[in-house]
């Protein structure tokens, strides 16, 4: 049984209530942290090796150390609870079941960064979670962990929950800041980075829910202990939200030493492919990261076992690897159509593009239309090359990474499943009633039991 740091207490009866959470050892991290120097906390987080859980995997301590500290200017911490990457629903789980863990992490982190007003920006659709969080905040305040002069340290902090209103792009940190300022969620052109000029032009740190919650075990265990969990530069535990054609979809806290195979097939996690089918492909880190066929998912191109951690999942680069991303683990069984799945993702990115920059605004819609054409049996062979060319012209040429995120799934689908695209083009009527299935991939996928 893997060690749990975040969700260990998530199912203790009544854990949403302050008293129960406190009885289970909650808020000890705040008591410890508020006796430390803020810079010492930043050092601890650095030493823990914690990497951002929002998708990019950037070292959290390092990010914190970039925060500008000009005299007389407020600094802000913003918690990114926008969670809109298809396949990702882990932050929701954490906030819903153990809200005080996030609040505790926010208090410690706000103290470390010198934020007296911290905002949780939550996606608008998670409407009922707003109430859960506000309840937790109110309780923490009643008990002296929020408000003025917290635990007699002269540290003041208020935490507010701000609801978004339906826009994936507001997960991008500068779009999130714009949205929090009451504007359209157009990502800003960087530099300046939020650490210098963020919310209301003040220095700002934006971190993911899970990242900020992980600060609690780091405080409680100490950075060294925390860093011992996991492997290499993938320290600590990671929440993975597993979905698609598996027996046990849900949110799992893993220690990043387990193999992908164990994660998919063990009863402790996904419990194998649903309905006794075989594994065809998987997107291991949220819809933006490259899809991998079963063979490359379970083993790297070199034939080594692939593990559920940052390094191993990206082993082989985009040619034969993928990414940890946001931890949204999407599994496709043998009956699923890659073209159709890619089409839904292309539609998603077209729908979510803010429309500011031309490659993303125009290119995402174009890709969707071509995919739709192929999927409806009207494609021609040159459409596949055109699709490849369009994604290559979007990638790297846009204001924010949504352009890349829209390009990568299309690129990876063509890279690994070109045969299936060709089959659609060559069997215009068949592709409407049948799936390409797995049979055609039999040789290539022979590693799969």
């Amino acid at each position: 049984m893997a060690r749990k740091l975040l969700l260990e207490k998530a199912h203790v009866e009544g854990i949403r209530q302050f008293d129960v959470y406190r009885r289970e050892g909650g808020y000890a991290a705040v008591e410890k942290a508020l006796k430390m120097e803020p810079v010492a906390i930043v050092e601890e987080v650095k030493k823990s090796g914690l990497r951002g859980r929002g998708g990019a995997g950037f070292a959290t301590g390092l990010k914190w150390s970039f925060l500008a500290k000009p005299e007389g200017v407020p600094r802000y911490l913003v918690c990114n609870a926008d969670e809109s990457e298809p396949g990702t629903f882990k932050d929701r789980y954490l906030m819903e079941f153990i809200p005080h863990l996030l609040i505790e992490g926010l208090i410690v982190s706000s103290f470390a960064l010198g934020s007296n007003r911290t905002y949780i920006y939550i996606r608008g659709e998670y409407a009922w979670i707003v109430g859960i969080l506000e309840q937790a905040i109110a309780e923490a305040k009643q008990n002296g962990f929020l408000g003025k002069n917290i635990l007699g340290t002269e540290f003041d902090l208020e935490i507010y929950v701000q609801r978004g209103a339906g826009a994936y792009i507001c997960g991008e940190e500068t779009a999130l800041i714009e949205s929090l300022e009451g504007k359209r969620g157009n990502p800003r052109i960087k530099p300046p980075f939020p650490a210098i000029k963020g919310l209301w032009d003040c220095p700002t740190v934006v971190n993911n829910v899970e990242t900020l919650a992980a600060v609690v075990p780091i405080m409680n265990l100490g950075a060294e202990e925390y860093a011992k969990i996991g492997v290499g530069r993938s320290t600590g535990t990671k929440l993975i939200s597993a979905c698609g054609n598996i027996n046990k979809p849900g949110v799992y806290e893993i220690d990043m030493t387990i193999s992908v195979e164990e994660f998919i097939y063990s009863d402790e996690y996904c419990g194998g492919i649903a309905n006794g089918k075989r594994l065809k492909a998987c997107i291991p880190g949220g819809s933006s990261v490259p899809i991998l066929p079963a063979n490359l998912l379970l083993k790297t191109a070199k034939g080594e076992t692939r593990y559920m951690n940052y390094e191993s999942l990206s082993e082989g680069g985009f040619a034969s690897g993928s990414m940890m991303g946001s931890g949204g683990f999407i599994v496709l069984d043998e009956d699923q159509c890659i073209v159709r799945h890619t089409l839904t993702l292309a539609r998603f990115y077209r729908h979510e593009s803010c429309g500011q920059c031309s490659p993303c605004r125009e290119g995402t819609g174009w890709m969707e239309k071509i995919l739709h054409k192929i999927e409806s049996g009207k494609g021609v062979s040159s459409d596949i090359d055109l699709l490849w060319d369009i994604q290559s012209k979007i990638e790297g040429n846009t204001i924010c990474p949504l352009g890349d995120a829209a390009a990568w799934p299309v690129a990876a689908a063509i890279r690994h499943f070109r045969d299936e695209f060709e089959w659609h083009v060559n069997h215009p009527s068949l592709c409407l009633t049948q799936n390409y299935g797995l049979a055609h991939y039999a040789d290539e996928l022979s590693v799969v039991a």
């Binding site: 701000q162 209103a165 979809p249 998603f348």
Partner: protein, 162 residues
């Protein structure tokens, strides 16, 4: 004339107080949520102008924001809005069939409202419930693990509680 109730105005003030002085524009999205709730599930131009005047901003700043976010309805909608997710992970678990089922059951297409004004059907993109697919949002809540039977039940419940 649309105008927030006194009770809502208290809430509005509390929201504005969350931000530093002069940054009241930050309250725009929360206020639009309140307006949509209070003024019949959608945002009319008058409702948006009302919000603009409360926050001392130009109306166009409100329109720009309201039209950007997909949760704001700019046209009247039915009493219940069924927002079915159609993105990849839900598609893998049969969301297409659920959408087709609701369409035939209610006799409406996507974006349409039933003649009795009870239901509007919308398709939406990933709502962060991929593991509990297929799913839809109804008002403040999620309806997950949808099957045709569950859809029947949900619709029947709406009629029973009207």
């Amino acid at each position: 004339m649309v105008k927030f109730s006194e009770h809502t105005m208290k809430e509005v003030e509390a929201i504005i107080a969350r931000y530093p002085q002069g940054k009241q524009k930050s309250a725009l999205i929360p206020l639009l949520h309140l307006a949509q709730e209070e003024f019949g599930g959608w945002l009319s131009a008058e409702a948006m102008d009302h919000v603009a005047s409360i926050l001392s901003i130009e109306s166009i700043e409100v329109y720009e924001v309201a039209t950007f976010y997909s949760m704001f309805n700019l046209q009247p909608v039915g009493k219940h809005v069924l927002e079915v997710c159609q993105t990849g992970p839900c598609m893998l678990r049969g969301s297409d069939d659920i959408i087709a089922y609701i369409k035939s059951k209610l006799g409406i297409g996507v974006g349409e409202t039933t003649a009795d004004g009870m239901f509007t059907l919308k398709t939406v993109e990933c709502l962060g419930a991929c593991g509990y697919a297929p799913m839809m949002q109804m008002g403040m809540h999620y309806k997950e693990h949808l099957t045709p039977e569950r859809v029947d039940q949900i619709i029947a419940d709406c009629y029973n509680h009207k």
